[in-house]
């Protein structure tokens, strides 16, 4: 397993040297030199080379046999099904319509009503389970249940919502099934030629979108960011079967002692209009003024992570990869530079208006309307004109 360069094909252009995040390459006398001590085989240079002179050799493994089918895990919360369960069903339906596969949802409860909603969202089959060990969202009993079903039916694809619980459960399942897992995908598609699942996610701090494949192991597993895939469109009721399954054998080793529900949420995940603020607003006072403006305009306030870290606003206001994904009709971003982790949380917004002093701010790349101006002044002017 190593990086190799074809001396014949290499023209010493140095594009790979610039592409290497590890500084493992240099050109000496028009010849490429690889520093094996630094290279981590990330493959950036291979993709950058216009001559196809670089290659990482790896043996082709045999494809593990799969029984077929696209499975989605339907996570439930204290209020029943999470929206991401329906998003996953709709997404799996689109993938299945290309390949002719069957969509199965794993519902950790015996609820005909929720099973029906999953079927209407796109599932052909819902595996339900009535077990006292699945009442609490704990990774061990859930992994036992999912892995037993997967071992029996060998799905081709297995998807989880990238919720906190999904991102704990999915790796445990992946490690037990000895397969790959792509975290926090924002796009999924199937390759027309190979039939492989193309799993796209932000990489390198989100400045790149990487498309990942799992060529030889099954199931192909991914967690999918909530709020990114469109919700299923309401249509005619669909047909599907509901199959009760056997539950896990025990409760696992972690025991829940008490629970603190999240405080009054800011409601930004469902907000129609969001005014968001980043470091560029300057002072805490300006953030308070933005709250006033939002109240007048009937909007909710979202913030970038630095403002949360400074304690200016609670986590429930944070938009982004480690915060909430939002999908408002209108989002106005004040003084947000546009770090990719933040942009990732606002991909669902329909109309984005950005206000920033820096004309080169990346946020403008994600906006339909831009105003190059000081955020603080703009907020004051809006407050005046909205009186």
């Amino acid at each position: 397993m190593s990086l190799s360069v074809s001396k014949k094909a290499c023209v010493g252009c140095g594009l790979c040297v610039r592409a290497c995040p590890q500084s493992a390459l240099r050109v000496e006398n028009k010849t490429l030199v690889i520093d094996g001590g630094r290279c981590v085989l990330c493959g950036e240079c291979v993709r950058a080379c216009p001559q196809s002179a670089l290659a990482i050799r790896r043996e082709r493994a045999r494809v593990h046999e799969a029984g077929g089918g696209i499975w989605v895990f339907a996570q439930r919360g204290s209020q029943g099904l999470l929206p991401v369960a329906l998003e996953l069903c709709a997404c799996a339906r689109r993938l299945a319509d290309q390949s002719g596969a069957r969509v199965c949802a794993l519902l950790p409860a015996d609820s005909p009503d929720e099973a029906r909603r999953l079927i209407d969202a796109g599932a052909d089959c819902v595996f339900t389970c009535q077990s006292p060990y699945l009442h609490e969202t704990l990774d061990e009993p859930y992994a036992d249940w999912v892995c037993a079903l997967a071992a029996q039916h060998r799905p081709d694809i297995l998807l989880f919502g990238a919720t906190l619980f999904g991102r704990q459960l999915a790796p445990r399942v992946a490690a037990r099934l000895h397969t790959g897992l792509t975290a926090d995908c924002t796009a999924l598609s199937t390759c027309a030629e190979t039939g492989l699942l193309h799993q796209t996610r932000p990489a390198f701090g989100g400045n790149l979108m990487a498309t990942i494949i799992t060529p030889a192991h099954r199931p192909q597993m991914a967690t999918v960011r909530p709020g990114v895939m469109p919700l299923p469109e309401g249509g005619a009721p669909r047909r599907g079967e509901i199959v009760p399954t056997e539950g896990p054998k025990g409760p696992g080793r972690v025991h829940i002692l008490s629970r603190t529900p999240r405080g009054q949420g800011a409601g930004i995940e469902k907000a129609e209009v969001i005014f968001s603020a980043g470091r560029g607003i300057g002072t805490r006072k300006t953030l308070e003024r933005l709250f006033e403006l939002a109240e007048r305009a009937g909007a909710q306030v979202g913030v970038s992570r630095p403002l949360c870290d400074m304690g200016w606003a609670g986590r429930e206001h944070q938009i982004g990869q480690t915060g909430t994904s939002v999908r408002p009709r209108v989002l106005v971003a004040f003084g947000i530079s546009g770090a990719i982790q933040h942009l990732a949380g606002m991909t669902g917004a329909k109309t984005v208006i950005a206000v920033n002093q820096d004309p080169e701010a990346p946020i403008f790349g994600a906006a339909q309307y831009k105003l190059v101006a000081d955020a603080q002044e703009t907020i004051e002017q809006l407050l005046q004109s909205m009186q």
Partner: protein
């Protein structure tokens, strides 16, 4: 209590910028540092050792230069370190990494508690903790922001999708921790002196007793097929002033 901290070396700037013309990564001024979440895990481990006694070890996998990061952990108070380093480990995804780390855990001996940062800031997968716990056959609690030791168990508080939970987990166990667990301490003068004398123990693939087929790129089920710059929304329309913005807002809010 004997505690192991898993640490990853990451680029110091979380924001790797792309050259818009060539689509390649601009690396200016990018140093390597300990993943910030792992430094919170180290701090949590040191605090537990102060209360309960025992040892704090730090395990990492990476290029030989990661030894500097481990030496810095010693300067901050860690007792022993182990670096898994070998060409065969390169290009590992989370499944292959968790395999290598599980062998590192065995090489270091038994532990009561393993602490990981909740995620690495460069990869953002948050998968190593749960995968490692599965390989070691121990329970795992993620996104922990408070730890209270008890006899043979821990009572910890964790973030959940619905809020927060207090859970009891028997030892040995693995926790992934958030930044709430304490600001990483500075190295002490004694610590720095100790770190200068400290030899970072390294293990190659063969020395760790690893199957090369399960390591690095060979042992990784996932492959990067392609990378691309994120798609924007096209060219934004420029607004002249706040007045125009106000008019636009009135229109879209109708």
């Amino acid at each position: 209590m004997n505690i192991l901290v898993c640490a990853k070396q990451v680029p110091s700037s979380g924001e790797v910028r792309l050259d818009p013309d060539t689509g390649t990564i601009i690396r200016d001024g990018c140093e390597a540092v300990i993943n910030p979440f792992d430094s919170h895990a180290l701090e949590a481990a040191l605090c537990l050792r102060e209360r309960l006694g025992g040892t704090v070890s730090v395990l990492s996998m990476g290029i030989p230069a990661c030894a500097d990061m481990l030496r810095d952990c010693v300067a901050r108070g860690a007792d022993q370190t182990l670096l898994l380093t070998d060409r065969a480990f390169a290009g590992a995804d989370t499944l292959a990494t968790s395999y290598a780390l599980s062998l590192g855990v065995s090489a270091l001996g038994g532990f009561d508690l393993i602490l990981c940062g909740r995620m690495a800031v460069d990869g953002d997968t948050a998968q190593i903790g749960p995968e490692l716990s599965e390989r070691l056959g121990i329970p795992c609690v993620c996104d922990v922001f408070a730890i209270e030791p008890q006899q043979d168990a821990l009572v910890v508080r964790r973030e959940t999708d619905d809020g927060a939970e207090q859970v009891r987990v028997p030892l040995p166990a693995l926790l992934t921790v958030t930044r709430e667990l304490g600001v990483p301490r500075m190295p002490s003068i004694d610590g720095v002196a100790r770190s200068l004398r400290h030899d970072v123990r390294t293990l190659s693939c063969a020395e760790a007793g690893a199957d090369p087929e399960k390591c690095g790129l060979s042992g990784s089920p996932t492959q990067v097929l392609s990378t691309a710059a994120p798609q924007g929304r096209g060219r934004a329309q420029t607004l002249a002033d706040a007045g125009q913005l106000c008019t636009l807002l009135r229109e879209v809010l109708e």
